[in-house]
Amino acid sequence: MKNQSLRQRYAIGRIFHLVCVGLTWLGVFVLFILLFHVSREGVAWLDLQFLDSFPSRFPQKAGIKSALLGTVWLISFTATISIPVGVAAAIYLEEYPKRSGISHFIEINIANLAGVPSIVYGILGLVIFVRFMGFGRSIVAGSLTMSLLILPVIIIAAREALRAVPTSIRQSAFALGATHWQTIRSQVLPVALPGILTGVILALSRAVGETAPLIMIGALTYVAFVPEGPMDPFTVLPIQIFNWASRPQDEFHQVAAAGIIVLLVVLLMMNGVAIWIRHWAERRQR
């Protein structure tokens, strides 16, 4: 660098800048290629018949009804289990004084659980929920497995939302004589709620797209009926897509693309709700 003129040094800088810009937009470009490829392949297969039919040996008759409803069942149960537990854990870790080493130990556990591959959760679910507790290959077993998988995400997001609540709110509640739990329940939680909800929805949308753990617990790849109760076998959108995509015929690949469009629309709607809640909360605060 000693022997370089200032002009050379600027030139190197400009080249580096261009490389960074180029590589960044390459990432963006890949996303558009992916979306374009999926919609071009799948859009012709996307119609009411596709949404309202069961899977079939014939690509023309194949549909996504059981997978779509299976996803709705699974996510409803997962939400019911994981939201209370996750938010409760976050409250304990964020609002209560640290009790010796145990809180720290719990935090380390949560951080490590967030990095465990999803398929390992599937094995845990297979052994504990499907076999040991005897839930079989049912929606309940799937939801419990999914709940364990997304709990770290919910806890981390809920803790951030709780941390953003100003301490002064807690202090004023204490000053008026409220107990610890009263303060949390009627002052802290309402303020933190939009942030918690946003995090929860993003965690649930991760559960919508997860495939591997459900394959492990044996969610079926061919389900020609709608689940009627929590103990019924089921399939979900990503598993149905996986099933179609792993067949050799091109027609089934296109049906898979149509399934992907449905899945992406579901995810887009969930993210839309999360963004809307964040936006609404920001406006309310002003």
Binding site: I106, L124, L151, S246
Partner: protein
């Protein structure tokens, strides 16, 4: 007089006590919810260890770790896990070649060069990229990237490690970009200004001031990305194939550890057989690898973190 005062005092005491009981119950319940994570961790370890122990009572640990042939479902059986580990590493290295340069470059662009407007466009797009389900990436690899590779390199197999590692790279790219971006933005601007004051150009400030100061975060993001790539399942199951194959040729079909676990669980393997136990042995190895990488990343962050006021 004294009596009533005393009784008033004691009833207040009782009230207070009853209140505290409720508080303690709530606290206990909240603690249980938090403690569930510890239970989960121990259940994972216990479940994996139990079946893996049965497996290792039949197959020697050393043969498993050093064997170069993996044919647990066919006679003659052989339980050498190296082909699966090799397949996984092939995917990880390929993914790193994609995700590290592009992710780091995006982070430098977002943190050091771009205006706030560009940032507010690019960041959400990267988040969308991170939110796309892995099975979609698998489909993309199989129906778009592999045909593309076949045009460029005709010796490409239908299932190949290259297209699998390319999509895994795309998948972990947003994580690398976002973590490196955080690390770069945590570097105080006073350091950069000191660099400019000494006559450095913007590029020199980035190269010699910002990047070294953010190094711990950047290295940690690479390690975490590797851990994610090792645990990635659906994309490699769809695109990289199902042939345990100890090769360094990315155009050939391979099988990763995760893909093997999926393959066994898709079939009807009864519990208690050696085939069934292999998935626990492989999953134990997978768990050990990702856990040590995650702990390593945490160590990097703690050990080399530069603390600025």
């Amino acid at each position: 007089m004294l009596d009533s005062k005393l009784s008033g005092f004691s009833s207040a005491q009782i009230n207070k006590k009853r209140f505290r009981v409720g508080e303690e119950i709530v606290r206990g319940l909240l603690f249980l919810a938090a403690f569930l994570s510890v239970i989960t961790t121990f259940s994972i370890v216990a479940v994996l260890a139990q079946e893996a122990a049965t497996f290792f009572s039949e197959v020697s640990f050393w043969d498993f770790l050093s064997g170069t042939k993996w044919t647990p479902l066919l006679e003659p059986r052989s339980f050498g896990v190296l082909p699966l580990v090799g397949g996984t590493l092939l995917i990880v290295v390929g993914a790193a070649l994609i995700a590290i340069p592009i992710g780091l470059a995006s982070a430098i662009y977002l943190a050091e060069y771009s205006s706030d407007q560009v940032r507010s466009v690019v960041k959400p797009i990267l988040e969308v990229l991170a939110g796309i389900p892995t099975v979609v990436y698998g489909y993309f690899a199989l129906t778009f990237i592999t045909p593309l590779l076949e045009i460029v390199l005709p010796s490409t197999k239908i299932f190949n490690a290259a297209s699998g590692s390319i999509v895994v790279g795309i998948m972990v790219l947003p994580m690398v970009a976002s973590l490196c971006d955080d690390a770069l933005r945590a570097v105080p601007s006073s350091l950069r200004q000191a660099g400019y004051a000494l006559g450095a150009t913007q590029f020199e400030v980035i190269l010699r001031v910002a990047l070294p100061a953010a190094l711990s975060g950047i290295m940690a993001s690479f390690v975490l990305a590797a851990s994610r790539a090792i645990g990635e399942t659906m994309a490699v199951t769809l695109a990289a194939g199902a042939t345990p194959n100890l090769t360094f040729n990315p155009l050939e079909s391979i099988q990763t550890m995760t893909a093997y676990i999926v393959q066994v669980s898709l079939g009807d393997t009864p519990a208690g057989t050696v085939e069934y136990q292999t998935i626990f042995a492989v999953a134990s190895l997978l768990f050990a690898m990702t856990l040590s990488l995650n702990i390593f990343a945490q160590k990097i962050l703690n050990r080399f973190r530069e603390v600025y006021d």
